[in-house]
Amino acid sequence: MTVETLAAAVRSGERTAVETVAQAFARIEEVDASVGAFLELWRDEGIERASEIDRRRDAGETLGPLAGVPTALKDNLSVAGHELNCGSKILSGYRAPYTAGAVDRLLAADAVPVGRVNMDEFAMGSSCENSALAVTRNPWNLDMAPGGSSGGSAAAVAATEVPLALGSDTGGSIRQPAAFCGVVGVKPTYGRVSRYGLVAFASSLDQIGPLTRTVRDAALALGSIAGPDPRDSTCSDLPVENYLESIEDGIEGLKVGTIREVRTSALDEDAAEGYRRALRALEAAGTELVEVSVPLIEAAVATYYVLANSEASANLARFDGSRYGHRAAGARSLQRMYTDSRSEGFGSEVKRRIILGTFALSSGYYDAYYGRAAHIAEAMRHQFASAFEAVDLLVTPTCPSGAFARGERVDDPLSMYLSDVFTTPPSLVGIPGVSVPCGLDSRGLPLGLQILAPPFADAMALRAARAVELAIGFECSPEAIP
């Protein structure tokens, strides 16, 4: 069942929140040994919260829009009293002292968090293989990567363990796993959702968003978690639209931009065909396709990996064994404790990125790398703004291919980074991006279309995603996890 139908059934009393949540736990019990999405289940608390929701309904209270919906949370979202590891050994044993703003809103909407799900360590990765804690598999083919870094969120939704998961997206970490797992993933406009209580990776890029099986569910979930939060000064005060209100209005007459620099020759053959199929669906829905140019999109991956890792090298300086998490044993000086705790606690990819970021910020290289990348990101923002003067929306494939095999790219970080070629540009310029499934490749694995809109036009991106969903008629039914 969808988020929308489940919540409606709980609100009307057609089903109880307790049975809804219990069914989710039973499904997780049944399949998660194969999928490996969950790091921890919150059974007692989940059932207790569901009972309270049922009690309030019986007392005549009106329930929230996500009433009784079992929800998975990425392991970088704080929930007071619960362990939070960010997929890392260095946060082993850490318990969040407060609850993230987005999770507060989920709870206010009467959703029921059922546990935390796996991710690449500190959200650094595109396959979920950089987790120090668990192996997560793609429900469509267990030998394939689920994508990352929100791989646990995408896999849990695709395997129908939960109808809703929250992820975070810095350079594609919601959209890419959503595409690999055949679900819908939304990176909202930067500032649309509070990042309070989200462990920071790259603060100028990080956004929280939903992963669901339908576009309507994503719209419902985004509407529930979006909005101002005085605890995050980058969170916008703009009022939140009702994303469901206009979602069935269609996209007839809209101008949709394809980007000249996105060459189908750079895609694998299946991804190119999937992209063409999606473009045909957009045309069939009444849009006019217009080619526009965003030349700096070709600089996005390099720009992203300088800016994101520079910010990460600063943000992750706090993990040094003094205040929380892992502390190396036997260090006789403060400096030694810092170095040993970090060297033991961080995994290879995190170390690699901290070193890259430290390099880009270091004396003698700052202007050539960080300064240059910041300049290009700013220019890219101008280019996207110009493109949006000519078109209402932009589209790209979400990824250059469907899911790759687990283990295929772990020893080749650059090739892993290049899978973010289409998801990094919107992150750098802060605009919303929705990945919606657009069919299967010749291996039977899902492909995604990325729909981009101007800042705070998240509703229009969702409306277009809904039109594509209807036109393509994709069904998320992974064979490996029936």
Partner: protein, 102 residues
Amino acid sequence: MSLDVEEVRRIAELARLQLSVGEEATFASQLSEIVDYIDQLRAFDAGVALSGGADPEEQGVAANDVPAGGRPLLDDFLDNAPASLDRFLLVPQVKATPGGAE
């Protein structure tokens, strides 16, 4: 631009990381490839002056932080500490103990 093992070790020290000999060699090779890729940024014409980022009014970052008034987080915070004494974090001394490794 390529990064050799010494350069990687120097940057790792700045980042308070100590790499194993194997990691140093692997990282030197991988990071050289990545930095080579990043060096393509030199070929792009950004063409506009830096404006200093997003409009602070629009983003709300100009707002003053107002203290919310003492949530009792200290105990929760100290519960997460690897070591504490009374209301303070306990860490090794700044200088190494006599006869220690440093």
